[in-house]
Subunit: 346 residues, 2 copies
DNA sequence: CTGAAAGCGCTTACAG
DNA sequence: CTGAAAGCGCTTACAG
């Protein structure tokens, strides 16, 4: 049903070697011959078998992208950036997602092997680090926001520590003292970094971060919502809530309103990532801006550098700074009115 | 650097045929032999070359998913549903996105050919239909929300017409007469269906749909925002705005508020798709519920049915009904107060 | 400029 | 139960 190179060769009256040369744009083919072959290729809609090609050329023209999850806008923005960058090079992206436990990651890694020329991995779970060590040395790999103990790989790291610290400082500067955080869980490296930044902001000012204000979420809207419900069971409510991503912030906002509080006048809320959604919700969400599609682009660029041997040297470790996107969901604290609220909740 | 089947055979002291049998779980291998081979496989971390395998077996254990775009939560939810279904069968998903013009679709299709055992295609752009005709007949294909003139393919269609009609009727029942829509553009089949549903709701009641209330968006938040800005330049403001997806509804809400109107008391807003976000924003968004991850799952299920020859017969055409998710962004109209608003805007 | 032939790494009848 | 050999569809030195 599919035509192969022999069919084309026969129909064009040449050898398969010549067909191959035409397909691959070799310059040592007579123009006339090329035209004959091309005409047959067109007519037969011939496309070379990628397996046969991959087998002999050891090149697949595909880049693998391994993603942990697919909730919210964050990962689709990563894919968007990566796909654009890849397509501009005539390559293709093979995305594999929903990998949260080591077994699945291993299966995905095995699958990718031999099917891609390079790999971009986002594996924020700490315990999946070991798997990465098993990757063949010959395969260019870029680790995106992974724990970075293996210096063999190129890495790109968002400054989660700095971003969270800056945001926390911003809140403290606004007079907030009781600042709750909703994390992304203890095994998530990005969450760990952000938590470290949050705590450091306090200690650098001689304050003591209050661990009872650290709540565990999992980056979904629902977990932001539920964490806030949890927060409101406590004796005193914080004046600000810092969710470690925008999805949880949105969930938090809903819960806060259900409890009868206004944002930002009663409670300030901020997020992390600055997904496209952030500026559209109301109040518009103050968030730590991460250049998300650019992250995907950078990873792809780095991969192509490796592939084209432009960089044979040591692994690069790129550190991506974050900025504060200040909008309307946080407000300078009015100490008096806040105390009133706390009373109300007891 | 990579070991191949010959390395394993040598090290295990058997032929490559035996290694192959062990790898593929053939039952005609002595248990003892199998163990020896497996031990070597483990030690060498041997993984069969997928190109060689694909070349001879004509099976890749991958399903292709062709997506038009990647904005918002809709497509990532599709991927999520599909990936889950695929993984449960030991298969893998190859996602290719950002294909909006026929050239890119063609490139993606060519790339997929030979790399996947089946294909799921979302190509809502009308003019890309021709490309699909060129797909090899031997490849199982499921068309997801595509124009469905080619009866050769399996199709899955969301009831955009019915959903939009139902929503429009709901708004009319609430007393709305001036209901603006923000579409997804004239070449998008899903938008066309929804627009048809919207118009039909009016005509079935003996009303005439007002074309000056149809605004063109492109499914992004920003286009929802800008469409509303456009709407407010008109002499009289509608009492309800029906955005053809949730992202545009969220953009619309922002713009409406900037113009000083309240939702839903001044203007009702509703969306389409019912993405996870919808219930979390405020006011919670009334939307046409589409079972998004299930759409991905259904497509995969259908593909496996084909692959396993369970269904050799004619193509299936699955029609997925939608339901109304009524929340707090739409309100029964108060005619008086609305007239006041219209005056205010002139 | 073109063709015959080797070889990429696997699977699978075919013998034994 | 196991091995030798053919063949999947391509590319690429090697001759000519």
């Amino acid at each position: 049903m599919h035509f192969n190179i022999i069919d084309v060769a026969k129909k064009a009256g040449v050898s398969i070697a010549t067909v191959s040369r035409v397909i691959n744009g070799s310059d040592k083919v007579k123009a006339e011959t090329r035209e004959i072959v091309m005409a047959v290729v067109e007519k037969l809609q011939y496309v070379p078998n990628p397996s046969a090609r991959g087998l002999i050329m050891k090149r697949t023209e595909a880049i693998g992208l391994l993603l942990p999850d697919l909730h919210g806008e964050f990962f689709s923005e990563i894919i968007r950036g990566a796909d654009n960058a890849v397509q501009s090079q005539g390559y293709h992206l093979i995305v594999s997602s929903s990998h949260n436990d080591p077994k699945e990651i291993e299966a995905a890694l095995r699958f990718m092997r031999g099917r891609v020329d390079a790999l971009i991995i986002m594996s924020p779970r700490v315990d999946s680090e070991i798997l990465l060590a098993n990757l063949p040395k010959s395969l260019p790999v870029v680790l995106l926001n992974c724990r970075t103990s293996n210096p063999h790989f190129d890495t790109i790291m968002t400054d989660g520590f700095g971003g969270a610290k800056e945001m926390t400082n911003y809140l403290i500067d606004q007079g907030h003292k009781r600042i709750a955080v909703i994390t992304g869980g203890p095994t998530n490296i990005e969450s760990q970094e952000r938590l470290r930044g949050y705590r450091t902001a306090f200690t650098e000012r001689g304050l003591v971060p209050n661990k009872s204000l650290e709540f565990e979420g999992n980056f979904t809207q629902m977990s932001g919502y539920e964490s806030v419900k949890e927060i409101f069971k406590r004796k005193s409510v914080p004046t600000a809530i810092f969710a470690f991503n925008d999805s949880m912030a949105i969930g938090a906002i809903k819960a806060i309103r259900e409890e009868g509080f206004k944002i930002p006048s009663d409670i300030s809320v901020c997020g992390f990532d600055d997904t496209p959604m952030a500026k559209f919700i109301s109040p518009s969400l103050t968030s730590v801006h991460v250049p998300i599609p650019e992250l995907g682009e950078m990873a792809i660029k780095r991969v192509f550098d490796r592939l084209q041997k432009r960089t044979k040297g040591a692994a690069a470790h790129i550190f991506v700074p974050t900025t504060l996107a200040i909008r309307n969901s946080c407000k300078k604290i009015n100490t008096m009115s806040n105390l009133e609220k706390e009373d109300k909740v007891v």
